[in-house]
């Protein structure tokens, strides 16, 4: 069991790259003004909360948020179905769903040991 646990925790470079890729594609879509593509990379709950708070479609509401541009200083932390990607310009939280990794929260600022305060996040 110890071997299983340690080998599982040794990390998966392909998985980390896939997670970072989703975060960067999200940032690129926002930066290029492609709200639809960016919303397609959001977690369902995050998309719903955004539309509810803004009282507007996701593609429109998302581009109203002041989200940072694409960053390329990638640091990825992945634990099972949850991930955090620091891009140098932003800290993005992701979750794994049936159709792959999706952005749970973006535009996040650290708040000590408390949860990050994020411009876009699920309810």
């Amino acid at each position: 069991m110890l071997v299983l646990v340690l080998s599982g925790c040794a990390g998966d470079q392909d998985r980390d790259r896939a997670v970072a890729d989703v975060a960067q594609r999200f940032q690129a879509a926002v930066e290029s003004g492609d709200g639809e593509r960016a919303c397609g990379l959001l977690a369902p709950a995050t998309r719903e909360t955004l539309e509810q708070d803004a009282q507007a479609p996701c593609a429109e509401a998302l581009l109203e948020e002041d989200l940072p541009p694409v960053g390329d200083e990638i640091e990825t932390e992945v634990y099972a179905t949850a991930a955090q990607v620091r891009t140098g310009t932003d800290t993005v939280f992701l979750g794994r769903f049936d159709d792959g990794w999706r952005v749970v929260a973006a535009g996040c600022a650290a708040s000590g040991d408390a949860p990050y305060e994020c411009a876009v996040e699920g309810g």
Binding site: M1, L2, V5, G8, A43, A80, D98, V104, Y116
Partner: protein, 224 residues
């Protein structure tokens, strides 16, 4: 075959119980994990993935480490500590490592004694403590597994809460690690202590863990 089953029925019984309950635990744990994920509007996982998950690993490891710690302390404590009237205790004049004659070592060993009980030297010294050493190693390894699996499972939870993950050294100093550890330890120590005392006054006819029904309360170290 029938003789084999009869003569090994205790080990087989608990072995089968263990297999059945660990499978049942994995199913219940998988459902509980996914239920929590649904509640937090996050993705669910399949059964195969749950079996490989740190959530399942920590649930198993935190129980294993406490059981083997219980065995370790019980094996060692019963060398020196006594409980008058308990079948779990040695007789009151036998505290300590006892004589070679009492332990059937060297020239006092029967013809069919384990070889390392007879040869002397480091082999006999090692074999004389092989039970505590083995149980102790299993305890330490399963506690280490609990710490690693628990660290990963806790970091998954922290990320879901939009918090930074923490290091392994930070996790082993954390409340989550020690709460999991101590909740298991307290129940193990309670069970062993309570059993040692209850068995002074109560009986279970035919059990190897009980005194004979008619044995006096003050009688110590007698099982039947």
């Amino acid at each position: 075959m029938r003789t084999f089953l009869r003569n090994n029925s205790l080990g087989l019984f608990f072995g089968l119980l263990f297999l059945g309950t660990v499978v049942a635990q994995s199913i219940a744990g998988w459902q509980a994990f996914n239920d929590q994920q649904v509640g937090e509007r996050l993705g669910t996982i399949g059964y195969g993935e749950y079996l490989r998950s740190t959530d399942f690993a920590v649930a198993v490891a935190e129980n294993w480490q406490s059981e083997f710690l219980q065995f370790l302390l019980y094996v060692l404590a019963t060398v020196w500590f006594l409980q008058q009237g308990s079948p779990e205790s040695k007789e009151l004049d036998k505290s300590g490592l006892e004589t070679d004659e009492q332990q059937e070592l060297g020239p006092h060993a029967p013809a069919d004694a384990p070889r390392w009980a007879v040869v002397g030297g480091w082999r006999t010294r090692l074999y004389s403590h092989s039970l505590a050493l083995t149980v102790g190693v299993i305890f330490l390894l399963s506690w280490l597994a609990q710490s690693v699996a628990g660290w990963a499972a806790d970091n998954e939870r922290r990320l879901e809460q939009l918090r930074d993950p923490q290091s392994w050294s930070g996790y082993v100093a954390s409340a989550d690690f020690w709460e999991r550890t101590l909740q298991n330890w307290q129940s193990e120590f309670l069970a062993v202590g309570a059993f040692a005392v209850l068995a002074i006054f109560l009986r279970e006819r035919g059990s190897a863990e009980s005194k004979p029904v008619g044995e006096p309360h003050h009688s110590t170290g007698v099982e039947g």
